[in-house]
Symmetry: C2
Subunit: 414 residues, 2 copies
């Protein structure tokens, strides 16, 4: 299996608010043709460190990909330092200069003199055209190693990589394809999940199985390696089927769909409609549902009833039900869902009332106590959750619990 | 100025969906005490590459910080490889083993045998206690260099760094302090902004000024360097004041507050209340407002009127107003805001109706057309925006435009 290293260049990537993200899509595309990323480096506009990084990378790995530092300013050191690391010269390319001049003319400008340096390339390197910017890329080969030099903005580097670098790498990568597939699981604890599926996945060394825990859901990630992508996909499909059968309704997606996409698709397929009634999540469930294009086909309306008075006026929750049980209670969650469904005349409604914190918790109902309500054609019910995390996470987990309850109820109805 | 390198360890950080983020807060804290981060490396569970990375880093930089790879499994190679890179031995610490056993007992478990390896530390290193996990950290010094070895999860590594590593680094960092301050600007285009403030900031070489464009707002970032943090803060304060004076109401924050925090603070200070009425943003404005703890003091309710029928029933928008002007119109935006304010009996309401796409655009009202409405004690009005970007960005920008309109109107009232 061939190995790659990615070097992201630019001092702005070493500040507290920015970091390299090109390496994520680069890794995905490299993995798919069976090339493993072994190391990533983020280096500033620092010639000494960049040269050392490049020399080490070319020494250790088959493929080195750099992003950034190809602009026209003094800080843009990538051209000269990549050449130095390869022990090759830079050569001036009259045709590139003409392209640059033409590019500026087409926008109605004269080319600034400093852009002239963008016409220098490593001797013998293939020039990679950049339809989306002034910085051409380069691909050089030396001693069996490949060095691809790409600009920083993904809008420029990604098409360049896909159209010019990837085909070359595919030639030499040979006949290994690595494919990933994720089984998304909701409503099952980590240890319970592993107890159920370890007897299955431990029988396979290919795909490799990793279990990742994030926010509310569990992701069972399969990575299959095979001579073709079709064969790798087939290996993943077989194990996906076995794990899905074991876990049943707890699996909400095996094809990359998010929870809100799954719920949206189920509603659309059935021609059914939804309303929401949110208290502590403040609109998050509505926001997630309507992030999906075309949500207006099934999502009609929602209310954010933050005050008790709003719960009564907008949803018809009796004031004495609130005073008897508290706004955060099963009774109020169910009354909210029932009220939302009746007033909006939808097939379903979901509701959330809870304590997201950091204040407002009590001994009986600590921060993280959330009631999720459901109202549908056959029944109205609610579930109590004790969600861990800070305000942000509790709210996100509550929204996920509501969408998952809706998903399970729709599927239960058949 | 002392220099640092950060090494993030773990094969999961080399996959297409995960990457190191610890380095962002590490960089921020290091910068504040005048230590510059010169290089970041992300390396998998690969002993050879990790050892080479660590040796290079210790060679080049004064301070090396690693995160991750301290767990109890075979993959957790950080202990032995950091020791090797320092050419020091690992020593077994009976007291650490006892702490580990006690930790497991306190959760009602017997310590698994594999956790025993977490009781090995680099000889002579300071052990950094971990109240939030089983992996203790280490801080070693050799040849004038400092190596800090931290666990991966930020919940564990951050308090460890702040409480044990930072005080030690502050001692040796000496007398340079670097402080950043951001002036957040909304409702001004990039070129207009620069035209206004370039004559001011170009007079200063310290602080250094950078202008960053993100989503809807512009961040003018000042970085001041001085012998003490107080002096650096004073340099930033002087330039912040000059720029703020020039830009006036377009500056919404100079102290790190987000737009929703600013709006929340203004409402709280005035003892005033807010309701929202959202169409294309589907609850995003409500979600942002209620993300702030204590929002129930000023946010009473919101409605997500995705269907036209809901706009009429929940907000009293006349059906013939919608059919005459279209749901995406100034008239409907204003009627939504007026209806929300009257029904909720709040001081203010904001509303949003627009076309977030990708479908639904027309020649007259293309995708990105958004009307933001405002209703307050003195007036009801609306603004039209043509927002660039995909569905996600258009929705986010619309929510920001609504919050910014509210902010400006509140401030206008005095």
């Amino acid at each position: 299996m061939q190995t790659a290293e990615i070097v992201a260049i630019g001092s702005e990537l070493l500040t507290p608010t920015k970091t390299d993200t090109n390496s994520l899509w680069l890794t995905e595309l490299l993995n798919e043709i069976g090339i493993e990323v072994k190391l990533k480096t983020i280096v500033g506009d620092d010639e000494m460190r960049l040269e050392e990084t490049l020399r080490d990378a070319l020494d250790r790995s088959d493929i080195v990909i750099t992003t950034g530092g190809l602009g026209p300013t003094e800080d843009d050191i990538t051209r000269r330092v990549t050449a130095r690391a390869l022990e090759l010269k830079l050569e001036f390319r009259e045709d590139l200069l003409e392209d640059l001049r033409e590019r500026f003319r087409s926008f109605g400008y004269e080319m600034p003199e400093k852009n002239r340096q963008q016409a220098f390339v490593i001797e013998g390197a293939e020039v990679l055209p950049n339809p989306n910017g002034s910085a051409a890329g380069m691909m050089a080969e030396k001693g069996g190693k490949i060095l691809a030099v790409l600009p920083g903005p993904p809008r420029e580097s990604r098409p360049m990589f896909v159209n010019h670098v990837l085909p070359r790498l595919r030639e030499s990568a040979g006949t290994i394809s690595v494919r990933r597939r994720s089984i998304m699981v909701s409503g099952l604890g980590e240890s319970k999940l592993d107890e159920l599926i370890a007897p299955i996945y431990t029988q396979y060394s290919n795909p490799v199985t990793a279990t990742l825990f994030s926010r509310t859901e569990v992701e069972v990630q399969l990575t299959a390696t095979a001579p073709t992508s079709e064969k790798a996909d087939a290996l993943n499909a077989e194990l996906t089927e076995q794990i899905s059968e074991k876990l049943g309704i707890a699996v909400f997606s095996t094809n990359g769909e998010t929870m809100e996409e799954v719920v949206g698709r189920l509603l659309k397929e059935r021609g059914e409609t939804l309303a929401t009634a949110e208290s502590c999540t403040g609109g998050l469930v509505g926001e997630r549902i309507t992030e999906i294009p075309g949500a207006s086909e099934y999502f009609l309306e929602g209310v954010i009833t933050y005050s008790n008075e709003a719960k009564t006026r907008l949803l018809g929750v009796p004031a004495d039900l609130i005073s008897a049980n508290g706004a955060v209670s099963a009774q109020v969650a169910e009354a909210m869902a029932r009220g939302a469904r009746e007033r909006a005349e939808t097939d379903y409604a979901v509701s959330i009332t809870g304590i997201a914190g950091p204040e407002g918790g009590t001994g009986e109902k600590p921060v993280g106590t959330v009631f999720v309500g459901y109202a549908g054609p056959d029944e109205t019910m609610s579930m109590r959750f004790n969600l861990p995390g800070d305000r942000h996470l509790i709210r996100w987990r509550a929204s996920q619990a509501a969408l998952d309850l809706l998903r399970r109820q729709i599927l239960k109805r058949g």
